[in-house]
Amino acid sequence: MKTSKILAWASLAVGLIYFFVPLIGTLEFSLRMRRGAYSLDAYSTVFSDIQFRSTFGFSMLMALFTIIFGMLLVVPTAYWVRLRLPQMRPVVEFITLLPLVIPAIVIVFGYLRLYNSSSFIPFTGSTQGTNVLLVLSYMTLSLPYMYRSVDTAMRAIDVRTLTEAAEILGAKWPTILFRCIFPNVMSGVLSGAFITFAIVMGEFTMAALLNRPAFGPYLQLIGANRAYEPAALAVIAFAITWLSMGLLQLVSRFSKTAPLRP
């Protein structure tokens, strides 16, 4: 018994060192900009950088669109598959897992070949078109996470009974979907949204290859050219991830304590 406990604490210590040393190192490095004293200079440089603001805002906007359109695609699909096409579940689930199998760089490579300015659907022919393609690519990337969290929430509320109850009361399907289903799977939608937010904010490959001024490529650019700002940016990025995941935990804990089923 004794040895196993020592081993447990030792494993934990190794894990904590692995997790915390880089974080402490980053924090310390980000404060080193002024010679001889710790300061927040790196942060003020970052925050006053116009490019930081514009790329950050751009990525936020992209994340927002990704979440909205992603959910508009995923929630009705998950609902419909549970209600009407249960035989298609394995197929749909398999498709939603594909983005974990096919590397992002391969997917975007395909886009660039398929949707370039000389193709049938020239997404990349215009700035707006490229932005749309970027949102679509983010939707693809976040598909596994969105679908899973929504589908889990739907399993918990038994959508079929809910729908039948609404139908008996005379509700039309938009009413059912937006008034009955969406609010009840809100915890799943929010979980999916937060994880999507975290993914989109830091995403590099898609944005860089589609040549859009997003936060990820900006980070890379700063990393290649500056010394202390990258560390400050890493701290900020880590804070964003923490925030998203913290909210996700909060939402899932909240929905767990809510009485889903008597």
Partner: protein, 291 residues
């Protein structure tokens, strides 16, 4: 249900299928067709003739070495992540640590497994780079010159330990439920039948966990294999791994053959695809046992 074998499509069936049409169109347009386009392209010449030359050209030394480094980094970071992650998951599930440690570590793992990409590279540069905190502390306090040992964060080894930062928590997240599934009675039964702790792990626990461990390691492998942002931000293009080579090819056709780029992508899909399929198969096997 009357829709088993409709002689002709009835209205209800049409409506049913229309319901998932948007999703299917989306998946086709932005997931399946682009991928298939590359896969097909790998077998054609730029003029549209069928060929296996692109595949054969993958076996040239420079591309092979890119695959080889990628595979090595992925294997090393997957194994490292798997071993440390396993011990951590074991510690919080079976190690008898206080309950709050378990929930904190799981929350933290959720964050850390998503903390990848460019910022992760910055973190490790700030920590283990030439002027990073650990490098400096080792030099000032212990008089130990880390870079004098040949260590470089911009190398195979540096990339491996950087990847492990998200590999370890991913392992913890996936393995914790599997360890939770280990019944206390198995351990007690083996103990009362006279087995030592070591015999229990060798004959019962590890064989039961083997599919989960193996499967998750494969998932970590695929995870590392497809990753590019961290490597690119960390090493620029100095480390010649497959995703970076592909990135350079997309940017500027460094291979001077678009269809060879497709073959490069096909190679990535095949490798991540195989490891994911094996992961799913192993997982099914693990679940069968843990019922």
């Amino acid at each position: 249900m009357s829709t088993a074998f409709p002689s002709f499509i009835d209205r209800r069936t049409v409506v049913d299928w229309l319901g998932i049409a948007p999703f299917m169109i989306f998946a086709l347009m932005f997931l399946i067709v682009p991928t298939l386009y590359l896969v097909m392209g790998a077998f054609f010449t730029p003029d549209g003739d069928l060929t296996f030359n692109n595949i054969a050209d993958l076996f040239t030394p420079s591309i092979l070495s890119a695959y080889w480094i990628s595979i090595r980094v992925s294997i090393a970071s997957a194994l490292g992540g798997a071993v440390i992650g396993f011990f951590l998951a074991w510690a919080i599930v079976l190690g008898g640590l206080p309950g709050w440690i378990r929930s904190s570590l799981l929350t933290f793992s959720g964050v850390a497994s998503n903390f990848a990409g460019v910022p992760l590279a910055f973190s490790f540069l700030a920590t283990l780079g030439r002027t990073g905190l650990v490098t400096v502390l080792l030099r000032d306090w212990l008089g130990f010159n880390l870079y004098g040992t040949g260590f470089n964060i911009l190398s195979f080894f540096g990339l491996t330990i950087t990847y492990m930062f998200f590999q370890i928590p991913l392992m913890v997240l996936i393995l914790t439920p599997a360890l939770d599934g280990m019944k206390k009675e198995w351990r007690e039964a083996s103990e009362i039948l006279g087995a030592s702790t070591w015999q229990y792990w060798r004959m019962v626990a590890l064989p039961i966990l083997w599919p989960s461990l193996m499967g998750t390691t494969l998932l970590l492998f695929a995870n590392a294999f497809g990753a590019i942002a961290t490597a690119y931000a960390l090493t620029g293009s100095s480390l010649n791994i497959v995703p970076i080579l592909l990135y350079a090819q997309i940017r500027g056709d460094v291979l001077h053959n678009a269809n060879l780029g497709y073959a490069l992508a096909l190679g990535m899909i095949v490798i991540t695809g195989i490891s994911n399929v094996l992961y799913i198969l192993l997982r099914m096997r693990a679940e069968r046992w843990q019922k």
